[in-house]
């Protein structure tokens, strides 16, 4: 009586593969969910928000002001919908959401530029949609420097270059956090995997129980570990398909920079996928029926979404929420993916985020194997 038998394990793996192939709806969802999420989030992560309605409050009427206004009107980022000198009016527009930006050009702007005083231009932004405002704010700065620099010719050329002729003061209203677009697509990888992998395995054993096939499985010499590992392996393949889809879309559709090693993403992804599958299997051994299993999966997904740093910046959360968040594999995987893709982190850099996931897998698998009942009692 061998304890863990590879033939028996392989029996389960093959069976699960065939069943997965036959279950077109579920398989379609596994592929469809990442595509749908990418499309939906595609609006928020559009790296080039265009035609943002903008109001200008002009108090100077000098040549530099005119240069700046012309440059903004030419840019595709901004649609100048209102030019006025009334402070009350621009604030009302901002509040009503009719404009996303107000650019305030102060009195004596031109003269103070010429004097090298670096006059302040106040950019007020409605940052309720930070993914849209973030890039536009940097755009307005770049655009102003470029426009004014060009006009600073001859003796004025000494005013060029850092720190620049104008001091931009950005005032982000309503949402001071600026989550950049590149955070989202890599983050989405972890979110999609959490969402689909947990549910699919949460159903795996409850389905056997509901259909009555569990009685048959239990009457065979199969061991709990063989059944559980056998049910996990096929879905690792599905998880890899999802990772690949998202990486392709990140690069092709959204132009997310990929500074680090994609291989490292796949390697750490294996662990993360296993973590989610193990959670699902654990739920599956606890749930009485498929509905309960789905509910449990949802209760795992929600805190993952909210506390991992995907929705809200992790450092902005209260201490207890950070502690909870640190227990979730998604939190660590998000850091890995962002670190690797955006900052070019290497294997050693991500190590501190890898071992918590590994620990999580070990605990979840142990619970699953322990909870897997070998009898119908």
């Amino acid at each position: 009586m061998r304890r863990f038998d590879l033939h028996r394990l392989w029996a389960i793996v093959m069976k699960e593969f065939i069943q997965m192939r036959r279950d077109r709806v579920t398989f379609g969802m596994m592929i469809g969910i990442p595509l749908m999420q990418l499309t939906l989030f595609g609006f928020a992560i559009n790296s080039d928000p265009k035609h943002l309605p903008t109001a200008l409050r002009l108090a100077d009427n000098g040549p530099f002001e005119r240069t700046l206004v012309a440059e903004m009107q030419n840019s595709t980022y901004f649609d100048v919908v209102r030019v006025t000198d009334s402070e009350a009016e621009v604030h009302r527009l901002l509040q009503l959401g009719e404009v996303q930006f107000v650019v305030n050009i102060p009195v004596d702007f031109t003269r103070r530029v010429l004097r090298g005083e670096r006059p302040s231009v106040l950019v007020e932004a409605d940052a309720t949609d930070p993914a849209a405002t973030g890039p536009a704010i940097s755009a307005v700065q770049a655009l102003a420097f470029k426009a004014i620099d060009r006009d600073l010719t001859g003796p004025l050329a000494r005013l060029r270059g850092a720190p620049g002729p104008v001091n931009f003061v950005v005032h982000a209203h309503y949402n001071p956090e600026n989550i950049t677009q590149y955070n989202i697509v890599p983050g989405l990888m972890g979110v999609v995997l959490t969402m689909t992998m947990v549910v699919i395995t949460a159903l795996a054993i409850t389905r056997e129980r509901e259909r009555g096939t569990m009685e048959n499985l239990l009457s065979t010499p199969l061991r709990p570990s063989e059944v559980i590992v056998g049910k996990i392996i096929p879905y690792i393949a599905v998880g890899y398909i999802q990772v690949s889809l998202i990486l392709l879309a990140a690069k092709g559709l959204f132009g997310v920079p990929m500074v680090g090693s994609v291989g490292l993403i796949y390697a750490t992804g294996l662990l993360f996928i296993a973590a989610n599958l193990a959670v699902g299997i654990t739920f599956s051994t606890l749930a009485k029926n498929q509905l309960q299993a789905v509910q449990m999966a949802f209760f795992f997904f929600l805190p993952s979404l909210l506390l991992s740093g995907f929705m809200f910046p992790f450092r902005g959360m209260p201490g207890w929420a950070q502690v909870l968040g640190s227990c979730l594999p998604l939190t660590h995987f998000l850091r890995i993916v962002r670190g690797v893709l955006l900052k070019g982190n290497g294997a050693l850099d991500v190590l501190p985020e890898v071992w918590p996931i590994a620990l999580f897998v070990a605990v979840a698998m142990t619970v699953a194997v322990k909870r897997y009942r070998q009898t119908l009692d």
Binding site: M1, D5, H7, R8, W10, A11, M14, K15, I18, Q19, R22, D23, R211, G212, T213, M214, E215, N216, L218, S219, T220, P221, L222, T375, L376, D377
Partner: protein, 309 residues
Amino acid sequence: MSAGGEHAIDVRGVTKRFGSKTVVNGIDLQVRPGEIYGFLGPNGSGKTTFIRMLCGLLTPDGGSGTCLGHDILREQKRIKLQVGYMTQKFSFYEDLSIRENLDFIARVYDIADRASAVEASLEGLGLRDRSGQLAGELSGGWKQRLALAACLIHRPRLLLLDEPTAGVDPKARRSFWDEIHRLSAQGITVLVTTHYMDEAERCHRIACLAYGNMLVKGTVQEVIDSAGLTTWSVGGPGLAGLADRLRTSPGVEQVVAFGNTLHVSGHDAGVLEATLRRACGPALSLANIRPGLEDVFIGMMDNARDNYS
């Protein structure tokens, strides 16, 4: 290993409780190798629960014994390797084809020459032409054949069949039982539950359960004799009205219409005969007949209800 050589199943006092309800109550059972042993009992009498305890799917709350020489409490893993258990409800994968199901089971039991074992199994049960068909699309009779084929693929020494012929047509039932007898002749022990009296009569020995209690065991003839039932056959006109009158008469316990005759049974032969002589005029024919297993079984269940429920 004490009784391993003599009995395929040798258990005593097997008990199972769910909560406060005793579902199997101190059952003793000895089944000889190669024997076909029938389990009769109404729904809920504990047949399935008892079988599950034999193959390690449920842990008994009391009792002890061996199955194929292995201790039922401690050696479930060894028992599982040598037992073929056909569940009451079809429990193979409906989204797998016949061949895939068989192949799965063959892999699970780590059978040496898997491919030829699967082929032989398809061949033997005449399932080869339909091997690519999904199990879920099969009719009841074919599902049952598949289940039996799958249970046999690892060459078990003991077959536990839980209501294997429920919902199967008579011809398929007959060929199923022919197969059971072939297997028995090869030395495979069979424990089978059923609600059909004709099937019970094809068993070497039977046991009757009610409310978790063993009422009687033995050959069909022994069971019938032990019941002490007397049965009369009544023929002639106006039987429907007579049946109603007889049901409330002294000594009459069962009145069953069989086509143009009534079978009237009771345990007290004298009172029964007197009642019948009084109730039946000269137009009716009366004959004392051998009670059927069904009459005995139903009589027993009526008594059991009074005793145990």
